[in-house]
Symmetry: C2
Subunit: 407 residues, 2 copies
Amino acid sequence: MALIVQKFGGTSVADADRIRNVARIITETYRRGHSLVVVLSAQGDTTDDLIAKAGEINPRGSQREMDMLLSTGEQISCALCAMAIEAMGYPVVSLTGWQAGFKTNSSYGAARIKSVRTERILAELDKRKIVIVTGFQGINKYGDITTLGRGGSDTSAVALAAVLHADLCQIYTDVDGVYTADPRCVKGARKLDEITYDEMLELATLGAQVLHNRSVEMAKRYNVDLEVLSSFTGRPGTKVKEVAKTMEKPYVSGVAKDKNIARLALVGLPDQPGTAFRIFSTLAKHRINVDIIIQSIGRGSTKDISFTIARDDMEEACRILEEVRDALGFDHIDVTDDIAKVSIVGAGMVHNPGVAALMFESLYNAGINIHMISTSEVKVSVLVDKCDADNAVQVVHDRFFEEYGTL
Amino acid sequence: MALIVQKFGGTSVADADRIRNVARIITETYRRGHSLVVVLSAQGDTTDDLIAKAGEINPRGSQREMDMLLSTGEQISCALCAMAIEAMGYPVVSLTGWQAGFKTNSSYGAARIKSVRTERILAELDKRKIVIVTGFQGINKYGDITTLGRGGSDTSAVALAAVLHADLCQIYTDVDGVYTADPRCVKGARKLDEITYDEMLELATLGAQVLHNRSVEMAKRYNVDLEVLSSFTGRPGTKVKEVAKTMEKPYVSGVAKDKNIARLALVGLPDQPGTAFRIFSTLAKHRINVDIIIQSIGRGSTKDISFTIARDDMEEACRILEEVRDALGFDHIDVTDDIAKVSIVGAGMVHNPGVAALMFESLYNAGINIHMISTSEVKVSVLVDKCDADNAVQVVHDRFFEEYGTL
């Protein structure tokens, strides 16, 4: 008899039939004798529809009122799901974020969870009720409604699993787990049975949008056992945990790509101490996240610094840097978004020094040019031309998963 | 510098343009230096749409979950209206029922307001903010969301006006006041400048759906000055108060009709004490409201009792009474919904004994047959055939408002 937290995303509750399907999954778990807390997102496009409604009235409305508006989406899906469970004859109660005890800071639209007061949930579980909780939201110290930002429902679910000391947190979505590469693009992509938090974090950062990154960080911090699985297929998914059981798994657990990036190069910087600090503190002040950074070895009195950022930030970054060009003393900015990042991720990589070389070799054999390289303990990333990205993922995936054994 | 409560109904906030219109009315009032609390209903058909969504999933879902679902409607309209006011550059905050301090009993779907804790609203007014509050809802002692039932937003507004000791409670709707009869049906119907609570109560009960009856009762109890006016025309509306200013107004202030009724007659009841008690306590136990009751004088050992109820209750009332036929001892039930109630209402009536006779005379002159008659201090109601109802209202209205002076 375990305590299980289940989370269902927007596509899983998009219409009446899908809500009934979710109600079936929930009640089957309950019938096996488990205590059950369920976190739901808003139905399908509800959140986008509400944003559009607000945009029609005031494109720059306050985030405080936006959160008041958006939080209704989950309240609707939770009430409907509770009714579907009632129709099946099971005891159930739905709770809003504030009823479920979610306390957040006051960053409307991107609030962080500060604590979860579980009295109400525990009281309902004691009555053997299935507890349905709105994801994505809480209240701040003023009693105002806040939302956690896109994908925040994953974080709500993991937070609940952490404070309730749940045995398992199941994230139901429209894919049936974490794959070695995007199965829609890469032939031979395989579902992973298990993956570590660190690997999952790298994969999420690298554009594999299965789990919200904040939720994985929180799961790692509180050691919550996660499982990613499909609400449509009923098949076992991928378990995310501290140490994956299969110790002898291959060095690489996945290949990912990210096409939504841009590369900037500041050319002809003076070769002085403090240059890098000034560049990146300027960008940080404007909340622009920098990913890969490469600094060339100085040539005479000048050097170049290149880095990648999200493509959406490209124009603003250029504008900001042009403003401080005289202070930084560079010659010009070289910028392109015609690039993509391809990465391999794997906890075993650090103990297998030849892994990066195998990746470079497979790209070389396919005639793909590498522009930048970045490595960490659990990943190797390369920048390639955007037109090469899909092929790059395929050849790298083939190299590690076709030739070097199965998982 | 007054404190004013304004309430806008669903048609007044149905789309972005209308919300902007409402925001203009609100900010104009604010600019005149008044403190302002605004109560909103859900947009247009939102509530019906949500009910339909629930019906698709579970036609007999619990009312507790239904309230969780329906309360989102007002939250959406309030957030959007607040954004419209922000766009005009005024300070504003929207509050849900629980944030605004509405405490109710636990009759989900038809909750009664027990108290309103005004701390939050007063704090926002102190900051010179326009306060937008969701109508129709509150929370019970368990912290669960309740709704007040259809039309409950009027009640929310009057309750706020009462606890805040507001100088005026303006109910904005899609008609520009209370008329001497339904202006869509009756030629010569005129808008009333003022009307008493008692007259308004009778008119509301009689089917003039301008104000929710509970709200008028509450306004009378707490002596809240009401004004009914249109959010579309900008013209003065009708004031509802304890004593209307124009003391010399005519005896009759309005003519109303109600076609949604049924008449039941229990024929051949034993002429014994306690019969009426048993009939009407049985119906009350099943929450069926009885309106007009007529008991015939006994003929020998039997008598008949006739009464009217809402048409929606007709079938259930017949079923319930048939079940206790032996205990009551009647011969058969005679039932029809092919009838309508036509009433005249006026606080001056009690001092003018000939009023009822004038009404009967005008109906006789028009060849309209009267089936039942009921009188109170401020009204006279008659039952007529449904096909005669429109004509009956017109001839009665002509009699009192064409021939006997203007208001």
